[in-house]
Symmetry: C2
Subunit: 558 residues, 2 copies
C-alpha cells in the first residue's frame, strides 16, 4: 500500500523564501497545525480514499437521499471534531482566523489525502466567505456558526441542463412570497448537493426574479436550506446522481426545486457578483486540489522508483553490478518524467503560497488577476504531471494497486469545474488584463522586473527575457484584440500559459535565492528553466498567429 | 447515446493520396469490406463497449476460469462467423490474404467500436504472424487454421513480477521432457490470458532453458496451449485478474505455469528474436488502437458540439440572434481544442496507412524504423487528443453518458503496454537509427527531401525546414552519443517526437497535394503547420541540452 506524507519541509522553506505573517499564528504554531493535519490525513483521511473510489454514494430514489460509505462519514466527523474545517474562518463565528498562507497548505494536505471528500468542506468554506461578505445579519447569525463548525455544509447551485459556461441562460425562477421567495427549477452537477455527512445543507442558488432582465444581468442569488429554521424539510430534492470517471466520494447531484423557500443574498439581479466571491475562492481551491493530486502522484512514483530495478544504466559509474539490474532512477527518461513533475509541482506550490499571502495582505487586485492563472495553468499542468508520474511506473501505474490511476481520474475534473480552463483564459484576457487600463498587469510585471534584480544571475536573465516576451504578447493583444475581439479570444489560452510560466520562473528565482546556488533546489530550478520554461516560445509563436488558422473552417467543414 | 461511423471517405482519400495495391482486393472490394465492418461495428461491436466497461470479467478461483459478459462473447462470435478476424491471414490456413493497407483500416474501425475486446483478435493476429514465420510445420498445421478462424486465440507471455521492461531478468524455466519441455514460472499482465471466448488459448511464453546464458541472450520462446492436442488441460492456469483503470473487456491475467507442456518455437536462446516478430506487429496495432480511440473521441466531441449552444460569438457575423446562444463551434478555444485533434488524427492515420503500404511492399527496414515512432508518438498524441476532445465537452466529458471518459481511461494503457514509450524511443535511437551505418535513416530522409519537391509550396517549405532540423538533431546525436551513450538515451524521446512531427508534415503535404489548395484538408493542414508543427522547436532545443539538467540530481536528492 503506497503512502503519503505532507511536504511540510517545503512549506517551511516557502515561509523562508516569501516571508510569513505570524500575527495570528506564529510559525511554530503553524507548523504544529500542519503536523496535526498530516497525522490525521495519514491515519484517517488517506485510508478512505480508495474506499470512497470503490464504493460510490448510493441514491435512494424513494426518499431522495444520498448515503456515503460509513468510512467517509467517520473521516468527515474526525475533521470537524478536531476543528480542522473551522481553522480559516472568522473567530466571531467560532473559526480560527488562520492566515490563508497556512490554510492553503492545510488544504493541500487534506486534498492529497482524499480529494473528493475535501470538496465538501472546501465548497462550504467558499459559501461561508460569500455569506460573510454578502448576506444580511439575520442570515449570518442563523447559519454561519454551523457552517464554520462543519455541522452544516454549503453548495453552489449554478448549472442547469441548458447552461453550464453560459449562466445568462439560467431559467430557475424565484417568486416573492411573504418575507422570502419560492424557487422553481432544475439544477445539475451540484457537488455534495445531497449527502448524509451533515445535519443541514445550505444551497446558494442562482435564479431569476420576475421581470428580471434577460441574460446575466437578471440573475439573483438565493440561500435555500435543505431544512428550514423550524426543522421542516424544504422543497429542494436530489433527483439523481451522475456517474463519473472519478471523484466518487463527491456525490454530483441533480437538484429539483419545487417551490423551495429561498432568501435573497445581496442585491436583486446582482447575484453573479455575490456568487463570484464564492467562485473565486473555489477556483483557487481547485488549483490546489489538482496540485495536491500531482504531489501525491509524484510521491507515489518516487516510492515505486526507489524500489524498482530494471535494466542497466548506459553510464558505467551508475551501475550496481552486485544487483540484478539498476534502480530505475538512473535512467534518463524516467528522470525526465519525474523532473517534469518535481520542477513544476514545487514552483506551482510557491505560486499558490505567494497568492495566498497576497490574500492575507489584502492585495485583492493581484489575487483577482492571478486566480484564473492558478485555476487554469495549475490544473492543466497537474494533469500532465500525474500522467508523467503514472507513466514512469509502467503497468503498475495503470492498475489499482498503487492508487495513481485514481489520482489520474480524480484530477481530470479540475480542468472543467468551477469554470472550464477556457473560461479562465477569457477571464484573464477579457476582464483582468484590461481592467483599469491594465493597472494590475503593470503592477505585477513591475514587481517581477524589480525583484528580478535580486535573483541569482541565471534566473534573473530568464525572468527578464520571459517578461519581455510577455510584454510583446500583451502588446500584440492590445493592438489586435481592440480592433477584433475574436483575436483576443483566440489567443487567450496560450497567453495565460505564457504568463504562468513566467511566474513559475520568478518563483524558482526566489526559491534558489534562499536555497543557494548548487543546492537541490537550484538543480531542479535549472531543469525548469532549461526544459520547461522553453514552452513559452510555442505559446508566444501561437499568439502571434492569432485567429487565422483557427477560424478558417466553415460551418459545414466539421 | 452517442454514435460512431467509420471514416471510410478518409480511407478512400488516403488510397488516392498514397496509392493502393489492388492485386488481391481491388478498391471496390476493399470499400465493400469496410462498409460491412462499419455496419457490424455500429450494430454489434460498439453497443458492447460500455457493457464491457461496466461488467468486468469475473474470475472463478476454484476452477481458475475467466468469464466475460455474454454480450462480449456474442460480439466475438459474430466477428469470427463473418470471417472478419481471418481477413488478413494466409489463404493456406483459411485466411483472406488481404493487404495491410486495408487491414489497418479494418483494425481502426473495430478498435473504435470496442477497443479492449479487439485486443483478443489483435494479439491472436500477431501470434499467427510469429508462428507463420518461426514455427515448425507440424506446429503450424496443428494450430494455424484454428487461430486464423478465431476458434483459438493467442497470447504473448513476457512479463514477470520482477521484469517488465527488462526481459533479461526472466526466471521462468523450461526443462526438456520427451519431445517437448515442461515449463515452470509465473507470468503477469497477460492480455486475454484466460477467457471463455475461444475453444483453446495458445500462449507464446518466454522462458529459459537449463544452462542458458544470463540476460536476454538466454531466452527461448515456447508454445504452450491451454488444451493439449488430446484434449487434456495443460498446466497453465490463471491465478488472478488485475484491477485496472480501463480496458475492462480485456482480462489482464496472472498466469501460473506448473510444469505446463511447451514446444520450442524457433532456435534455442533466440526467443526474443521470434517474439519480436509478434511484438512489432502488436506495436503498430497499439498505435492504431490509440488512434481509433482518438477518432471516436473526436466524433463524439463534434456530435456534442453541433447540438450545444453556449454564449455569443465575439464576432457579429457568427451570431445567430434568433437562438438563445450560439453554437459552441463559433468559439475559438473550442475550435482550437478540436483542430488540435483533427489535424493530428488525420495525419497520424495517413502515417499508419503509408507504413501499412510499406509492409505490403516488403519495405521491412522502413517499417522497422517507423514502428517505434508509430507506437510512441501516436499513443502519446492520441491520449492528448482524447483529453482535448473531452475538455471541449465540459462536464459532459467527465460523466459516463457520452462514453468519452471511457475512451480516456481505455487509451491510457497504450502508452505503456507492448513496450513503454520510453522503450520505443530507445529502440529508435539505439537500434533503428545506427543500424547499417544509418542507412534506413538516410533512405527515409532522402525520400522526404525528394518528395518535398512535389508538394504544395507551404508544405514543401515546412517539410524541408523540419528535415533540416532533424538532420541537425541527428548530427548532434552522432557526435555526442557515440562518446557518451547516456546522452543518446537522454534525448531519445524528444528525438522521436521531432521525427514524428516531420513525418506528419510530409503526410499533410501529400494530402493537400491531392485535395487541392483552399480545400478543407488544406485548412486543417495549415492549422497543423502553424499550430502543431512548431512544437518541433521545443524538442530540438531539448535535444541540444542533452543530459546535463536531467542527470544533475544525486541519489539522495529525490
Amino acid at each position: 500500500m503506497p503512502t503519503y506524507k505532507a511536504p511540510i519541509t517545503e512549506f517551511k522553506f516557502l515561509m523562508q523564501c516569501f516571508g510569513y505573517d505570524d500575527s495570528t499564528y506564529d510559525s511554530d504554531t503553524a507548523l504544529s497545525i500542519m503536523n496535526t493535519v498530516d497525522q490525521l490525513t495519514q491515519q484517517v483521511i488517506f485510508p478512505t480514499n480508495q474506499i470512497g473510489d470503490d464504493n460510490h454514494p448510493s441514491y435512494d430514489s424513494q426518499n431522495k437521499t444520498v448515503t456515503l460509505p460509513k468510512e467517509i462519514s467517520q473521516a468527515y466527523n474526525t475533521l470537524i471534531n478536531q476543528g480542522i474545517v473551522s481553522l480559516g474562518h472568522p473567530s466571531e463565528y467560532g473559526g480560527g482566523n488562520a492566515p490563508q498562507a497556512l490554510l492553503g497548505f492545510v488544504a493541500e494536505i487534506l486534498l492529497s489525502g482524499n480529494s473528493s471528500l475535501s470538496m465538501c468542506h472546501g465548497l462550504t468554506s467558499s459559501a461561508i466567505l460569500c455569506l460573510h461578505h454578502c448576506a444580511s445579519e439575520p442570515i449570518k447569525s442563523l447559519y454561519l456558526n454551523h457552517l464554520v463548525s462543519g455541522k452544516y455544509s454549503g453548495t453552489m447551485c449554478l448549472t442547469e441542463p441548458q447552461c453550464g459556461t453560459d449562466l445568462g441562460l439560467i431559467k430557475t425562477k424565484a417568486s416573492p412570497h411573504q418575507e422570502h421567495y419560492l424557487i422553481h427549477g432544475q439544477k445539475i452537477w451540484i457537488t455534495f448537493g445531497e449527502h448524509n455527512l451533515t445535519e443541514n445543507i445550505i444551497h446558494l442558488v442562482l435564479a431569476r426574479l420576475p421581470d428580471a432582465p434577460d441574460g446575466i444581468k437578471g440573475i439573483s442569488l438565493f440561500l435555500v436550506p435543505k431544512f428550514l429554521d423550524d426543522g421542516t424539510r424544504n422543497a429542494i430534492y436530489c433527483s439523481g446522481l451522475e456517474k463519473k470517471m472519478g471523484i466518487h466520494s463527491s456525490p454530483t447531484c441533480s437538484m429539483s426545486l419545487d417551490g423551495a423557500h429561498g432568501w435573497l443574498i445581496g442585491e436583486p439581479n446582482k447575484g453573479l457578483r455575490a456568487m463570484f466571491v464564492m467562485m473565486n475562492d473555489a477556483r483557487i481551491y481547485v488549483g490546489i486540489q489538482s496540485l495536491a493530486l500531482a504531489e501525491v502522484s509524484y510521491q507515489t512514483a518516487i516510492e515505486f522508483a526507489k524500489q524498482r530495478r530494471q535494466s542497466r544504466s548506459t553510464n558505467i559509474k551508475r551501475q550496481e553490478l552486485n544487483e540484478p539490474a539498476d534502480n530505475i532512477l538512473v535512467h534518463p527518461d524516467v528522470r525526465r518524467q519525474l523532473l517534469s513533475c518535481k520542477s513544476t509541482n514545487e514552483s506551482m506550490r510557491a505560486l499558490v503560497f505567494m497568492t495566498q499571502k497576497m490574500i492575507d495582505n489584502h492585495e485583492h487586485e493581484r489575487v483577482s488577476f492571478l486566480t484564473p492563472i492558478i485555476k487554469s495553468y495549475i490544473t492543466e499542468r497537474s494533469n500532465r504531471n500525474i500522467s508523467s508520474a503514472l507513466q514512469s511506473m509502467g503497468g503498475s501505474g495503470y492498475v489499482k494497486d498503487w492508487l495513481i490511476e485514481q489520482y489520474y481520474r480524480d484530477a481530470r475534473i479540475t480542468m472543467i469545474y468551477e469554470g472550464t480552463n477556457t473560461i479562465q483564459a477569457l477571464d484573464l484576457v477579457g476582464r483582468k488584463l484590461p481592467k483599469d487600463g491594465g493597472k494590475t498587469y503593470r503592477d505585477i510585471i513591475g514587481m517581477l522586473r524589480e525583484e528580478s534584480e535580486t535573483l541569482p544571475e541565471q534566473y534573473k536573465r530568464c525572468l527578464i527575457e520571459s517578461v519581455d516576451k510577455l510584454d510583446q504578447a500583451t502588446q500584440w493583444l492590445m493592438s489586435n484584440a481592440l480592433q477584433d475581439a475574436e483575436q483576443g479570444v483566440a489567443v487567450a489560452s496560450p497567453y495565460l500559459n505564457a504568463f504562468a510560466l513566467t511566474l513559475l520562473c520568478y518563483c524558482w528565482g526566489k526559491m534558489v535565492k534562499t536555497a543557494g546556488e548548487g543546492s537541490t533546489k537550484d538543480k531542479t530550478g535549472l531543469y525548469f528553466i532549461e526544459h520547461e520554461l522553453i514552452e513559452i516560445d510555442v505559446h508566444l509563436a501561437t499568439i502571434k498567429k492569432g485567429k487565422t488558422y483557427i477560424m478558417s473552417h466553415g460551418r459545414n467543414e466539421w
